[in-house]
């Protein structure tokens, strides 16, 4: 089958399939409905023929959504441990979905987040009583989700029987829609309304979803009346979320609303050092400062940059230094590849040497023109993907051997004449930004 399809078709539709043999034939387990539909429409007949051929007789082949691991499920990474159900034995214990690594210990405190951190600690110690709901808001990647998980983990640490559930608002909506589709909405309601602490991330995604807002409104009221803790995060102050019902906005303000600001430099440095430490990596202070100074927007981007630096050091087997960090960060900080054209090179070189583009393209062979022309050809070879004949054509219809000669000449001159090397580097910098 593999030899009959392109790599892309094979990797997209066939490779994700798992095969299960049952008494009636072969079942191909696909990751989702979309893949099943594609397999049924495009490949099932051929797969059927192959199965018949290989087994020497007819073997029914069918495709369905599923996975072999589902039949032997591994415990979910952050699933709540099995424990006796005390608070509401009639409802199964929900999956907490908490990230174990997001705790108060791993949260780096600074001026930008200390108020939120203090409020979160209070809530973790007295869930359902102090600050209910706790509403954390701020830009993306500043630690709202981390604090939320930290509260959940602390609540569970104090009371392993507590029913705590973290859910992203998009998932809440998705679960509800599935509940409606599969006629299980009452289970959905019971599951959410039986919690001791409900943690909903990014509630701005409820905007304009009236049915979800209504369901959430009732869940919210039930939990609040039962003195169960609600923690919400959002990218902005509740009143500023467009498309959210007024009654919800007003309830969000009943507890405590706290902002998280972007981390100041020192906090960013501390975050980097702590994350590197957690990975078992020694990050020199100067490197941490270097990264923190250049990436100021949010913590996730800091993490991405750090991962890249660590990956490079791990690949080369060398310790992290300023040099290795700069090399790795060139990727992270680099802007989109600039489109450098031969025309642009000619214009820039002509301006730099104060000559006209027409002269660059002319037959004139005086050094004041020929040298810039050679530099421009050399830059065109380095910065564009045009073939040498194409570059020759663009410089007044010259042969590709002339271009080759120019490139060799400039390479040689850059090694012997500082001035030529400086000119070349200056132009390279100008052209690549």
């Amino acid at each position: 089958m593999r030899s009959e399809l392109s790599e892309q078709q094979f990797n997209t539709w066939i490779r994700p399939l798992q095969v299960e043999a049952n008494g009636e034939g072969l079942r191909l387990l696909a990751p989702n409905r979309f893949v099943v539909d594609q397999v049924n429409a495009q490949y099932l007949a051929r797969l059927q023929a192959l199965a018949d051929e290989l087994s020497g007789g007819p073997v029914p082949v069918s495709a369905a959504v599923g996975s072999l691991t589902e039949r032997n499920p591994a415990p979910a990474r952050a699933a709540a441990p099995a424990r006796p159900q005390v608070t509401a034995p009639q409802v199964p214990m929900p999956e907490s979905r908490l990230m174990r690594e997001f705790t108060f210990d791993t949260f780096v405190e600074g001026k930008s987040n200390q108020l939120a951190r203090a409020a979160a600690s209070q809530v973790a110690e007295n869930p359902g009583t102090a600050f209910n709901p706790l509403f954390l808001y701020g830009g993306v990647g500043l630690g709202k989700t981390h604090l939320m998980h930290a509260i959940g983990n602390a609540v569970l640490a104090r009371n392993p029987n507590a029913r705590v559930c973290y859910v992203h608002s998009e998932r809440f909506v998705g679960d509800m829609v599935r509940g409606l589709q599969h006629n299980t909405i009452s289970e959905f309601k019971r599951a959410y309304r039986s919690l001791d602490a409900l943690l909903i991330d990014d509630i701005q995604f409820f905007a304009n979803k009236d049915r979800s807002q209504e369901e959430f409104f009732h869940t919210f009221n039930t939990l609040l009346e039962g003195q169960r803790q609600i923690i919400l995060t959002c990218d902005r102050y509740p009143k500023e979320v467009d498309g959210l019902e007024e009654r919800l906005k007003s309830r969000f303000g009943w507890g405590l609303t706290v902002a998280i600001q972007p981390p100041e430099l020192e906090t960013s440095v501390a975050i980097l050092i702590q994350k590197a430490h957690a990975e078992g990596v020694e990050l020199p202070d100067e490197v941490a400062f270097f990264i923190a100074q250049r990436i100021r927007s949010n913590v996730r981007e800091l993490e991405g940059a750090l991962r890249r630096v660590i990956a490079t050091a791990s690949f080369t087997g060398r310790p992290i230094t300023m040099d290795s960090c700069k090399e790795a960060l060139r990727d992270v900080l680099a802007l989109q590849d600039k489109l450098v054209t031969i025309e642009n090179i000619q214009k820039t070189v002509a301006e730099y040497f104060k000559i006209r583009v027409g002269e660059l393209l002319s037959k004139r062979r005086s050094r004041s023109i020929a040298r810039p022309r050679q530099i421009a050809m050399s830059l065109a070879k380095e910065l564009t993907r045009h073939s040498l004949p194409e570059i020759g054509d663009a410089f007044g219809g010259r042969d590709h051997t002339t271009v080759l000669h120019a490139c060799r000449k400039i390479k040689e001159l850059r090694e012997t004449e500082t001035r030529v090397d400086e000119d070349y580097k200056n132009l390279l910098r100008t052209l690549t930004g």
């Binding site: 990474r77 949010n298 990727d331 040498l388």
Partner: protein, 229 residues
């Protein structure tokens, strides 16, 4: 002959080389290949110009995983956002050319949900785009921010010597013998773009098979001339 006319040729003459790590010329991109071979959570973002081998590497990452534990989705195919619904969140999921769905609200939300689920269940997301997340054109700041936590690698062009090596490696993987002088001849006359060079190699493979000729410089010169180069 214009650069456009030496662009990728619309050929359909059999299979191309299997996309695996060992058929990719790593050159200056060894760290990226290593990171894809054993992707750390939450995953890897691979940027680079057209022809830098992003699709090859993503498919190699899928091929290196056991069956059923990895999936490759070429987003330029125009798949609907439902294509990622319910994908196994503990798997390796490779999304090629993510910029093609940037700005599509349904897709961006679907990816946000997928990312959250993968973070929870320990999956790895491998994404390719011409640029970094901040320049991919996402509308949803929450998605852009999450994807900026991936390890970013920007594929570097192989350079002249590397290009020759890559061309020879590709020929070898196709079972072709490409003499040094022929490789140099091609590199001097064709656009210095690996994707284009590989397309020409595919064409030369077919022509040499049809003519029962080896890839000598005179034979290659004739083919190039016949194609207008």
């Amino acid at each position: 002959m214009t650069p456009e006319s030496t662009g990728q040729l619309p050929l359909d003459i059999g299979l191309d080389v299997e996309a695996r790590f060992d058929t990719y010329y790593a050159g200056p991109n060894g760290a990226a290949v290593a990171a894809l071979n054993a992707p750390a959570a939450p995953g890897v973002w691979l940027s680079g110009a057209r022809g830098s081998g992003r699709s090859h590497l993503l498919q190699a990452a899928v091929a290196s995983q056991p069956a059923g534990h990895a999936l490759y989705l070429p987003l330029r195919m125009g798949l609907p956002a439902t294509a990622v619904d319910g994908l196994p969140a503990d798997a390796v999921i490779c999304l090629d050319d993510i910029e093609t769905i940037a700005g599509d609200a349904d897709w961006e939300r679907a990816l946000l949900v997928l990312y959250e689920r993968m973070l929870e269940q320990g999956g790895r997301l491998i994404i390719s785009a011409p640029a970094r997340p901040a320049d991919a054109g996402f509308e949803l700041a929450d998605l852009e921010s999450r994807l900026s936590a991936l390890s970013l690698f920007r594929l570097q062009p192989p350079g002249d010597a590397g290009q020759l090596e890559a061309l020879k490696m590709r020929a070898e993987a196709r079972g072709l013998r490409l003499p040094d002088e022929t490789a140099r001849y091609l590199a001097l006359r064709l656009p210095r773009d690996l994707a284009v060079l590989f397309d020409w190699l595919q064409l030369l493979d077919a022509r040499s098979l049809a003519a029962n000729r080896r890839l000598t410089v005179p034979f290659v010169r004739d083919v190039l001339r016949a194609e207008g180069v």
